[in-house]
């Protein structure tokens, strides 16, 4: 298993646990009377699962298992995959902190950080699609 795949899959596993931890917090809020900030974590919960866990796991496995890009560079350009990893995780982590902070404080700074989170994740998604596309081909 290539290093980048191990990185994607292990990071995905951390998000998997983190997402279910947030799920426990959401379920515990009415029982334990936790702060209203916790209620605002619902979108964070879904995106930790769908982007952090599932999509990132797919990215890692696709990087490893899909047909070769070329004989010289079987998995395409590694620096692009590194960039995708960095942008996706920076964007997702930024969202995890900025979204609840915006909900609770309403400060403009958090709004702009959320815009930055959107841009980082969008660029990562587009780069992944463009980079993987030539490897999705017949014999």
């Amino acid at each position: 298993m290539p290093f980048l795949t191990r990185l994607f899959v292990k990071t995905a596993l951390i998000y998997f646990v983190a997402a279910l931890l947030v799920g426990v917090l959401l379920a515990a809020r009415p029982v334990l009377g936790l702060s209203g900030v916790v209620a605002g974590l619902t979108p964070v919960y879904f995106h930790l699962l769908m982007v952090g866990w599932l999509t990132q796991l797919i990215l890692g496995v696709a990087h490893w298992m899909f047909p070769r890009f070329s004989r010289e560079a079987p998995r395409g350009r590694d620096w692009i995959t590194w960039t995708i990893f960095g942008l996706l995780n920076a964007g997702l982590l930024l969202r995890v902190f900025a979204e609840p902070a915006l909900n609770s404080s309403g400060a403009h700074m958090w709004g702009w950080l959320l815009v930055l989170a959107a841009l980082l994740q969008w660029v990562a998604g587009m780069a992944f699609v463009v980079h993987l596309w030539p490897r999705v081909r017949g014999h």
């Binding site: 599932l54 959320l114 989170a117 959107a118 969008w122 998604g125 992944f128 699609v129 993987l132 081909r137």
Partner: protein, 139 residues
């Protein structure tokens, strides 16, 4: 990679690109409001990423890697039917929320997705087997 897998996985990648674009716009709009109508993209964002991306990718990879009957993967027609029904269903469900279409359109979309699942399951069922059964099935 067989041709139906190429089509399913490329379509999944297109849905990933569209779903991330809608998601990016929604998150931007949450941080720095652009237009209230952008919230209408939420059903398309969810449908494209849940069914159009993850489910369709699983179908494409499943058709590719499930055990074969020697070099033969079985009748391919149900897989093409599943491809058409799934993509039709995703667009009907996703865009009906965005365009405020009548609820029967969502029902039709969900019915298409059910048909896709049934067709894909019918094709895949006999391929879920121990490797030793390959020769028996061919006889």
């Amino acid at each position: 990679m067989p041709r139906p897998s190429v089509w399913l996985i490329r379509s999944a990648l297109i849905h990933l690109a569209l779903g991330f674009t809608f998601g990016g716009l929604l998150l931007w709009n949450k941080g720095m409001p652009i237009h209230p109508l952008l919230w209408r993209l939420l059903p398309a964002h969810m449908e494209f990423l849940l069914i159009g991306w993850t489910v369709q990718l699983a179908m494409g990879v499943g058709y590719w890697i499930m055990p074969r009957f020697y070099a033969y993967r079985g009748d391919v027609r149900p897989v093409w039917l599943a491809f058409v029904l799934l993509n039709g269903g995703v667009w009907l469900v996703g865009m009906s929320g965005t365009l405020a279409a009548p609820s029967w359109v969502i029902l039709a979309g969900r019915a298409c997705e059910l048909g896709a699942a049934a067709a894909f399951a019918a094709h895949t069922w006999p391929r879920v087997k121990p490797m030793a059964l390959a020769a028996t099935h061919r006889q």
